[in-house]
């Protein structure tokens, strides 16, 4: 299976080409912003280095979040464009799942600093969620995780004094390729997993009556 994996959800823009479990080419640039400008060129370069043609791709994987809203949309929109071009199946990858898959070991807790006193986290076997820091600490302390991975790891370290802390800011490209190949066949096009409502109030919430 020839796959292309894309990730612009967190602090890097990444394109990975893999075939049957072997990574053929990786382009991964750490960045806080500029994913939109970077991802197409990185993808082109990875495909070229892999000697792969877009029409030969069996599957495209893209991270759906949680993460930077803009980053999620850039990655998903770009992936949708690539997938439309040759009608290639497109699968979504959770970014917390991708972080967890980036480290080896059992019972991994993945977490991303969501700002505003919040953390995105996924405990072993649990769903991705957004929690206030206090709740996140409580969830971490009962998770029995041996490893905490992601930008939020230092925030939750006190809840699990014996856990290994891996504060990486983005997922490992090899893990992205593996999750793309292992993903179940999609039911429909992937959509962003924001875990947070738009920062806007409706007229009713603002008390405006018409």
């Amino acid at each position: 299976m020839l796959t292309l994996s894309l990730d612009t959800a967190l602090a890097a823009a990444t394109a990975v080409v893999a075939k049957d479990g072997v990574v053929l080419a990786v382009r991964c640039e750490p960045m806080a912003r500029g994913h939109q400008e970077a991802i197409a060129t990185l993808t082109r370069d990875a495909m070229t280095e892999a000697g792969a043609a877009f029409q030969d791709l069996d599957r495209i994987g893209v991270t759906v979040g949680p993460g930077s809203f803009t980053g999620l949309r850039v990655g998903i929109a770009f992936a949708k464009g690539v997938a439309l071009a040759w009608n290639t199946p497109l699968v979504g990858i959770g970014s917390l799942k991708a972080l967890a898959a980036s480290v080896s070991g059992e019972r991994v807790l993945a977490t991303i600093d969501a700002g505003r006193g919040q953390a995105y986290l996924q405990t072993p076997g649990g769903p991705p969620e957004q929690l206030p820091l206090a709740d996140a600490l409580a969830a971490a302390s009962v998770s029995h995780a041996g490893i905490i991975v992601g930008s939020g790891a230092p925030l939750l370290a006190e809840a699990l004094p014996s856990a290994v802390i891996d504060a990486r800011a983005f997922a490992d490209p090899v893990a992205l390729a593996r999750l793309t190949a292992d993903a179940p066949t999609p039911g429909g096009p992937p959509q962003p997993l924001y875990l947070r409502a738009p920062d806007a109030k409706t007229l009713a919430e603002r008390g405006v009556t018409r």
Binding site: G34, F69, T70, A77, F78, A85, Q191, V208, R210
Partner: protein
Amino acid sequence: MADRFTVLGIETSCDETAAAVVRLEGERVEVLSNVVASQIAAHVPYGGVVPEVAARAHVELIDGVIGRALADSGLDYDGLDGIAATAGPGLIGGVMVGLSAAKGLALARGLPLVAVNHLEGHALSVRLGEAPAPYPFLLLLVSGGHCQLLSVEGVGRAVRLGSTIDDAAGEAFDKIAAALGLDYPGGPALERLAEGGDPTRFSLPRALLDRKDCDFSFSGLKTAAARTADTSVHTEADRRDLAAAVQGAIARQLSERSARAMGRYVEMQGGAGRLFAVAGGVAANRTVRARLEETASAHGFAFTAPPLKYCTDNAAMIALAGAERLRAGMTDGLAAPARPRWPLDEAAARDAPIHKPGRKGAKA
């Protein structure tokens, strides 16, 4: 084949997710498909366009809209010569969605990418009608986000004669409509309310009377109308009269500045191309349109406006701008930035963009 350019255009800069396929052959323009998925319903609860809500809708809709535009055109990607997308100005979260999808398609199909200025799309929309407007022409672009007068001499060649110094005319329509208790989008609702109203009963301020340029200002009008709505509007007849006064005041200002721009334009063009084109959603307002037709006629200009479906935001105009640029050999790299602000005058110099992330500059 050498003079035939078939382009898929994508537009996501405000609250319409749109895709279209347009073919340019010589001076013949053919719209092969034109799909617009409006998000108005998603924004109604907020009383206006919320950028984050718009961006969320764009990314959900984008693949379906592109797929439909291609299916409606009867073509496969093999039948395309290029992919064009709005790269600004507009709501940046939405712009990035359309531009990113365009990059994915262009890269995977080996097609050239054209990053189109949304304002240039509107400027060229007058070439989407039955008889495409020939260059040059004087353009009034008047919408919810923009209000400008431009001398359009060709693709990538537009000179701005005037612009709003605060709100766009359509924005004034929408905000005053909200003050009158009308639902978003308020422009069309205000037009309906104004029917049978007395436009002379309420006097509203005239802006920038001491200036001799072609710039617009609508914020004073907006404030005055909101105040009048608060203090002097009690009955349905009051509402009608105020709506009529607002509509008249906007039409008058658009007409006055257009007349001034016609004088400038005649000087610039030496009397050639006496064509006045009006594009943008506000061009759909019948009072505004009638007033502008009179103004054109009084100054010896022919009048044209695109069909209504190409007045409001659409992707056919983006596809056409893409096709015209492609024909002129103007394409963009895969690193093309999305630009929240992008004055049209700069479009000519866009091969050497000065944009850096975080740096804004003139709005449009």
